[in-house]
């Protein structure tokens, strides 16, 4: 008996990669999954933060997909290496700060290294021609195959019939006729195939698989780079862009205002690294101050903190201000009038 052929599937947690892997398994191919964690993924921790999201099932969609398929899932931390993809994308950005084409090339390249190291035959993705404006176009799909070094070992089972035959097809162990010819933005073929396989309750991310496709998020990241004068970030920076209201009243600092209990608790973990403010005479949010404030900045920050507290209509609110050295002082301030916070302070 010939040994089973092996493929590794890029599993994002969405429907397309679930189906792509399943289609290959139908042809007797041994499939394992690989999932890359960039720090921008919508997965995981995000739903642990906000209370309103806690009611939803707290699952990691990539793991859920692996369980549905009964395959192993290798999860890989690429936070450090991925920075260069976000900061210097050779092929540029999509509508927001999403470097989708470079991202795909990077991930397929990582998967290529993985199959070489683990003796697998090919890589599977759930890509569909025309599904996404940047990385999944007829002209960019060959770019991903070529620049990743995967070449004809990259199989896209959902649209394979619209693409040149890959090595597994040429070698005759993958039947092209049993692959698919999906194209365009419609989700109907995927939903029909999901129904055929009996998959329900799968995740359907709207814009993309990560926060970089989100306009508001990209605005905050661009602001971070502009005000620091450097296109750099640490994991903590990009995590904090996911929580709270962000206000920049002055160029030299911004405030991150917790919107609810879950966010306040999450932000507490960062208190030691930032000047932070907390109303003490009334209940209210934890506010982190990112930047280099002077005394008048602290006063304004305290008034804004008071504005977001239960004491917003009180004459004075006491706000405790704690420095990075841990020293605290109490300031009694007039809450900033709610209707007068300039709209352009909000990021």
């Amino acid at each position: 008996m010939t040994e089973k052929r092996k493929a590794v599937a890029l599993i994002s947690g969405g429907l397309d990669s679930l189906l792509a892997a399943r289609v290959m398994m139908d042809q007797g191919v041994h499939v394992e999954g690989i999932n890359f964690y960039t720090g921008f993924c919508v997965e995981g921790h995000t739903h642990a933060i906000r209370k309103k999201d806690r009611a939803r099932p707290k699952r990691n969609n990539a793991l859920w997909v692996a369980e549905q398929l009964g395959i192993k899932l290798h999860m890989i931390d690429i936070i450090e290496e991925y920075k260069d993809v976000v900061i210097n994308p050779k092929h540029g950005y999509g509508a927001n700060l999403n470097p989708c084409l470079d991202c795909k090339i990077f991930m397929v390249n990582k998967a290529r290294a993985w199959i070489d190291a683990n003796g697998f035959d090919c890589i599977i993705t759930g890509e569909v021609i025309g599904q996404r404006p940047m990385s999944q176009r007829r002209d960019t799909m060959p770019v991903v195959a070529r620049e990743s070094g995967a070449d004809d070992r990259l199989v896209r089972p959902l649209c394979a019939k619209n693409l040149p035959a890959t090595r597994p097809e040429q070698e005759g162990w993958l039947d092209r006729d049993r692959l698919h010819a999906f194209s365009g933005r419609s989700r109907k073929p995927q939903m029909a195939l999901a129904a055929h396989y009996g998959f329900e309750d799968y995740a359907q991310p709207a814009g993309g698989c990560c926060f970089l496709t989100d306009k508001q998020y990209s605005v905050k990241l661009a602001d971070l780079w502009a005000t620091r004068g450097k296109r750099e970030y640490e994991l903590d920076d990009i995590m904090l862009l996911k929580v709270g209201r962000h206000l920049r009243p002055r160029p030299n600092y911004k405030l991150i205002v917790g919107r609810e209990e879950g966010e306040n608790r999450f932000m507490e973990g960062y208190r030691k690294r930032f000047v932070h403010l907390l109303p003490t005479s009334h209940s209210g949010p934890l506010v982190l101050l990112d930047g280099e404030p002077d005394d008048s900045d602290i006063e304004l920050a305290a008034r804004l903190t008071a504005r977001f507290s239960q004491g917003r209509d009180a004459e004075y609110v006491t706000v405790e201000v704690t420095g990075v050295d841990g020293a605290s002082r109490a300031l009694a301030v007039k809450p900033y009038p709610a209707g007068q916070v300039p709209a352009d302070w909000y990021l």
Partner: protein
């Protein structure tokens, strides 16, 4: 028993640290993972099911969640 400190890390990082630690262990070995993100209560058992490892215990004390795993036959 080998242990992994994944406190303060957010999911899926505790899962990834667990996976990397298990890679150096043998079937039957045990591993203790210390975490603070409540997401691990779901994600680490899911990862174990997918890979055939056994979750022996999940202990929640104040802010720290300790998960004990017995490594399966990979």
């Amino acid at each position: 028993m080998k242990s992994v400190d994944a406190r303060r890390l957010l999911c899926p990082l505790p899962v990834i640290r667990t996976q990397d630690a298990v890679a150096d262990l043998h079937p039957g070995d045990s591993l203790r993972v210390l975490c603070t993100d409540p997401g691990v209560i779901h994600d680490i058992p899911a990862w174990c099911r997918v890979h055939g490892h056994e979750v022996c215990d999940i202990d929640e004390q104040e802010d720290t969640i300790t998960i004990t795993i017995r490594v399966g036959s990979h």
